[in-house]
Amino acid sequence: MSTATSSPAASQPEASTTGRTLPLTEGSLPQRVLRGALTPGGAVFILLAVLFIAVVWVNPSFGEPPQLIRFIGRTAPIAIAAMGQYYVIVAGEFDLSMGAVIATQVVIAGNYIGDDESRVLPAIALMLLIGVVVGIVNGLGTTILQVPSFIVTLGTMLALGGLVRYLTGGAATGNPVDTFREIGRGGIENVPVLDVLPYSVIILVLVAAASVWLMRSPFGRTLIAAGDNPDAAGLAGAKVWWVKTRAFILSSVSATIAGILLVGYAGVHPSVGAGYEFQAITAVVLGGVVLGGGRGWVLSAAAGAFALELLFSFLNFQEVESTWRNTVQGVIIIVAVAAAARAWNLGRRPPSRSVPAAPAPSPTTAHPGTETGEN
């Protein structure tokens, strides 16, 4: 469909007309791995390795399995949140409500469960339900009402955050029973090499596996297509609104899981989870996922979260004041995105310059919104 594929002619690949296979699918496995590593989504793993070596260099004990597994456990919530944010971003949207959802869940856990151990399972069910509802609200607001996702999720963020603070009076209230907190901070004791295997690591692995499976399923393929070009996806028969809504649901549910884990570490306070949305977005962007949708791998998002936390650990070991964290985070995301804006072109598609820059094929292409879809 010309209206869909011929938009910004200079930047959109025209794979169908060139008749070439995509570079990622040709060549032997090592070649493909190498080429994959050159894309931002692969480069983050190299960055991760470099940072890991640097941290171990500074502080050798960090490399010991028990230390390492604890670090992974600590980072699990943000990694899970980043994977949740990934679905939304790859669909071309934003989810700013993540932090507020985490705060809501934490407060619910604190107040509903209390000292009653029998309420742990119903509470988890309730929290997941609330997560799904928030996701549906965000998703339907974005797709059916066609409000920009930035605004919808900003609205839910203000509304949920305000409500939680109103109900709690802005102070820490309630304290869930220890068995619930064990999910976040406990683990399986006496594991041979690792000493202790935190539950959060197990949950992280499960979520990661599920994410990979999801992104390889028809849903994942459709999601990426919808993020890359919703017009084309819609014309190809995909229910764009339902796919995007599911992405928002996945995001909120991920925030819920992150919230459950965070209860173990932090107390029950409405400010838990503040700023999580931007941290998750930073991690996703660091993982080479393109804002505006359609590019990026889910595991890269998780790797981005780990890279970010490793970097913070590194700065800690270097005794840099923690107030500089924000600055470092800011520099990173700018550099990562500036690099990614160029690098995705290397490994993925034929050079777009070879497509003759057709002088604005038809007036229909000039529709705002496609521009921000690019990076």
């Binding site: 930035f150 900003l154 509304a159 107030t323 800011g330 000039a366 705002p368 521009e371």
Partner: protein, 375 residues
């Protein structure tokens, strides 16, 4: 006036001609459902109608509390509340029109108050130098963002978030608590006004709004801003130099934010490194801009509409203050208002768009309007 400021300058299509193209059928069915009067309304008129409605409701609610909404003090308070957010929102309008976004606003506000207050040290003689320094620093911050967005092609969301984080790290490291103090003359400015009804800060806001509106409507730069926001590639291929307008929009935005910070300083008297993030000026200004009918994707909107959006927020805040609504509940209500208003609104502006391009089939495609509503 509002009828033309609202859309991209496009001599080929007057509103009358637009409705007479073949797209008429798809639009007609929707329009037929509305009364004849409403058909003539564009988004700017709508927002002011909503504003009138909000004012009436607020006046009634205020009267129920035994107070007068139109009293001298209250009008003064509302206009003062408008001025700071208004200046920021004007800048944000420029940036959003050009297809970018500015999330660095709160940190730039804080930075500006700290620099200005630190420079003045409570002495009138220091005012010119301090004001000059502040605005230059703000302009430099804007310049950096503009160059990142236009030259390095970093998404505006990330560029401004990154720069904002960098500034926040600097602030957190170097300033603890309040800093410096405003000169007496500046404080006087914060309390002066015309006849006790209209504060000087509101006049500053009006002057800026008029200037920016004139700039957008009558200068080449302004027209290029709309063109680039509509579609950067098409604008470039049409011979528009895309770097200058993007950079100018960001610089102007940051300078306006600096002005807003000076107004804020004239009221608080001391510079504070956290005043911006407490005010949530980034998200509120974006919400005000979108509420004012500007497309978040860029290319369509007006400063006039933005002022309406800002006024709605100011009136809401005023009435919630009078009714002594819990401050946390305020956020809840704000979030609700944002989503509801934009939901009514985003639908409308999307429906109104297609005639401009004379292709009726697009508007009825599933998902073809989806991307416009997203950011």
């Amino acid at each position: 006036m509002s009828a033309t400021t609202d859309r991209t300058p496009d001599p080929a299509h007057t509103p009358g001609a637009a409705t007479s193209t073949e797209s008429r059928d798809s639009v007609r069915s929707r329009r037929a459902a509305r009364p004849r009067r409403a058909r003539q309304l564009d988004s700017t008129a709508l927002i002011y109608l909503v504003l009138v409605g909000v004012v009436i409701v607020s006046a009634v609610l205020t009267a129920l509390e035994g107070r007068n909404f139109f009293s001298q003090g209250n009008i003064w308070a509302v206009l003062t509340a408008m001025s700071v957010l208004g200046l920021i929102a004007i800048g944000q309008t420029l940036v959003i029109l050009v297809g970018s976004l500015d999330l660095s606003v709160p940190y730039v506000v804080s930075l500006a108050t700290v620099i200005a207050a630190g420079g003045m040290q409570g002495l009138d003689g220091n005012i010119p130098a301090a004001v000059f320094n502040t605005l230059v620093v703000c302009a430099v911050v804007g310049l950096v963002m503009g160059l990142l967005v236009s030259v390095l092609h970093v998404h505006g969301f990330i560029a401004s978030l990154g720069v904002g984080l960098i500034v926040s790290g600097y602030l957190a490291t170097n300033y603890q608590g309040s800093h410096g103090s405003a000169a007496p003359d500046l404080r006087l400015l914060g309390r002066s006004g015309i006849a006790g009804w209209i504060p000087t800060s509101f006049l500053v806001l009006l002057a800026c709004a008029v200037l920016v509106t004139l700039m957008l409507r009558y200068t080449r730069l302004g027209h290029h801003v709309y063109a680039i926001g509509g579609n950067r590639d098409v604008a470039r291929m049409s011979g528009v130099r895309t770097v200058l307008p993007v950079v100018s929009a960001h610089v102007l935005c940051s300078v306006l934010v600096g002005l807003a910070a000076l107004l804020l300083l004239s009221r608080t008297g001391v510079g504070s490194p956290t005043i911006g993030s407490q005010g949530r000026y980034d998200l509120l200004s974006i919400a005000a801009v979108v509420l004012g009918g500007t497309l978040l994707a860029g290319g369509k909107g007006s400063v006039v509409g933005t002022m309406g959006g800002v006024a709605i927020f100011a009136v809401l805040d005023s009435v919630m203050g009078v009714m002594q609504v819990n401050p946390f509940l305020k956020d809840f209500i704000r979030g609700l208002v944002i989503v509801l208003a934009v939901a009514v609104y985003a639908r409308r502006s999307v429906v109104r768009r297609p005639p401009r391009f004379g292709s009726g089939s697009r508007s009825s495609l599933p998902g073809s309007t989806m991307k416009e509503g997203t950011a």
